[in-house]
Symmetry: C2
Subunit: 351 residues, 2 copies
């Protein structure tokens, strides 16, 4: 189903903004000609870039925003001082209904803080979680939280499980996604209290999800489950460790092959096979982390995203809109309401 509302774009966020951001939007239009964009940022800089492409110009609107939130700005400072920033303006556009989703490659902490302030969370959700797909043996695996909440209560983890389930159904098209809770072992007695309590809660069967049980680090890429739930500290470090390792392995192989004539000849024969095999590990195809649990759609692109990569982040936003993921999360939470109201209490140890 085509969507009629435009996507708000923070044109200034990210290392390669605004060029990569604008080129990314142009790439999206090829696949989704019905898409519309509102670009927020310094008009004198971005308007000429957009005007270069007639198709893009016709689908776009530019709204001037004077400032840009720096990548290393403290979220609390960005919330107070970033009122005339491109990021804040793009978030506000979702808040007041001018846009149906927003995308930014800017400061993650600021995006989270401002989006939570403006959009609020979905009813029944205490905290949004940064959610993304990672490659696995068979199909993409949904992982959350990737870094929004450094410490999580058992209730937070249970809510992440329900949100991840709705996301995997809607975005990855799974009928009954298997949900796993990341831990240091798969045995009952392992882990710290929060993870053990979340495990006990999820095992009761009162939640309308397929709970698999504990999973370990290696299960993520083996595709043991379809959704991996963890706290933001662990999730962030696990995924950055994986990114670093894959870069090291590729880098080591590439430079070794470049140094050897024999290997270079061999690579000529194997190249197309190798490229095709490794395509699903291409991080650009998986760019776009959704701040799941907000009462609105905000997508975070990697800060270093190129045009192709940023285009994927926009596509994640479009999928969120088209598949009505937030409505589905609300519906799932409604189904467990009698049991969960007792556990959904405000957290005092908020960090």
């Amino acid at each position: 189903m085509p969507f009629s509302l435009p996507i708000a774009i923070d044109a200034m966020g990210g290392d390669k903004a605004p060029e990569a951001v604008i080129q990314g939007a142009r790439l999206v239009l090829k696949e989704f000609p019905q898409a519309r964009f509102i670009f927020f940022g310094r008009e004198p800089v971005i308007a000429p870039l957009i005007a270069r492409n007639r198709v893009l110009a016709r689908a776009s609107e530019v709204v001037h925003a004077e400032t840009v939130i720096a990548m290393d700005e403290k979220p609390s400072v960005a919330m107070r001082q970033g009122r005339d920033s491109s990021m804040r303006a793009a978030i506000n556009a979702v808040g007041d209904g001018r846009a149906c989703a927003m995308v930014s490659a800017g400061n993650t902490g600021a995006l989270m803080a401002i989006a939570k302030l403006v959009m609020k969370t979905l009813p029944g959700i205490q905290r949004p979680a940064i959610t993304a797909s990672v490659p696995s043996r068979h199909r993409p695996v949904v992982m959350l939280d990737m870094g929004a909440n450094l410490e999580c209560s058992s209730e937070n983890l249970v809510q992440f499980a329900i949100m991840g389930d709705a996301y995997a159904r809607a975005i990855n098209g799974m009928a009954a996604p298997k949900i796993g809770l990341l831990n240091v072992g798969s045995e009952e007695m392992k882990g710290h209290e929060e993870v053990k309590e979340a495990h006990r809660m999820l095992r009761t069967g009162q939640y309308p999800i397929q709970y698999h049980g504990f999973v370990e680090g290696h299960d993520i890429f083996e595709g043991t489950v379809d959704v991996v739930v963890t706290d933001g500290f662990t999730g962030n470090i696990a995924i950055k460790t994986a990114e670093g390792l894959s870069r090291e392995i590729y880098g080591t192989l590439r430079s070794a092959i470049e140094r050897s004539t024999m290997a270079k000849i061999g690579y000529l024969f194997a190249r197309s096979t190798v490229r095709k095999a490794l395509r699903r590990f291409d991080p650009r195809k998986l760019n776009g982390a959704i701040l799941l649990g907000l009462n609105g759609i905000a997508v975070k692109s990697h800060g270093g995203a190129d045009a192709k990569s940023f285009a994927n982040a926009i596509k994640v936003a479009i999928s969120m809109v088209e598949n009505r993921v937030n409505e589905k999360i609300i519906a799932e939470l409604e189904r467990v309401k009698p049991e969960t109201t007792a556990t959904v209490v405000p957290i005092t140890a908020d960090i």
Copy 2:
């Protein structure tokens, strides 16, 4: 310098015990003919396996132990009921001075609990940490804790930094190892309280180490620092995630190449280069995690270790002995004693 005291070996621990364990010891003898072993386990099973090799038989002694601690046994149960187990007997041999180190591929939690009970910790160390080397761009990187302490105070993390420093100097031969603290970002304000407080303490300069600051997941394999310090929950998940990913990448490549004749031909040319390049990522070469901080030497081998892999775990034990790592940790702690006594307090929130 050759060592004169024997290594106690839990002959029954691990998925491939006792065969892989005994064959591993035989491999070590080729490199260290002066090594001596005491094997603990079911004598009727292990004695004939050892007798098969005359050189090994001459260097070995067998002590019968009736039971084996199961891989999924709860550590607390293993502590109470495993008194006549091969693991307990091997640990006791270090405790009463018959052996200078012990190695086991058995249950990690049980090994940690029993070794801590029997050997106690080094003076000034609250908790031992599972410590191991991982490959990086330039050289192996020391990482701790890999899973002994699921929740760590800032004092624990500071002590891990000091232990990791001594280990990197003694085992990896580094003059001034750079120490990093694993976090979700490298900026000052990021992370939870324990990691921020440990950062503040390490930055004071009162500890005799080269503190680099915060590092992120991708820094581990990039070799940004020589020692990566983290809590056991995060460390365990990060390293298992990395293991899983590297298996997936290799597996994907291997099966793609096997399915294509062109790629198979290409691989014939590139094989020796590729193998040589990836050798440093061979997990077998890095097997052997030391339970650092114990007043004695206990090395944990991977449960699935083959002979070559188990041999590496024994070599880690030998290095610990030859390089007097524990004495060096004590000496480093002595140097900071005036400042640290204030912070080294018993932890009430012990998990």
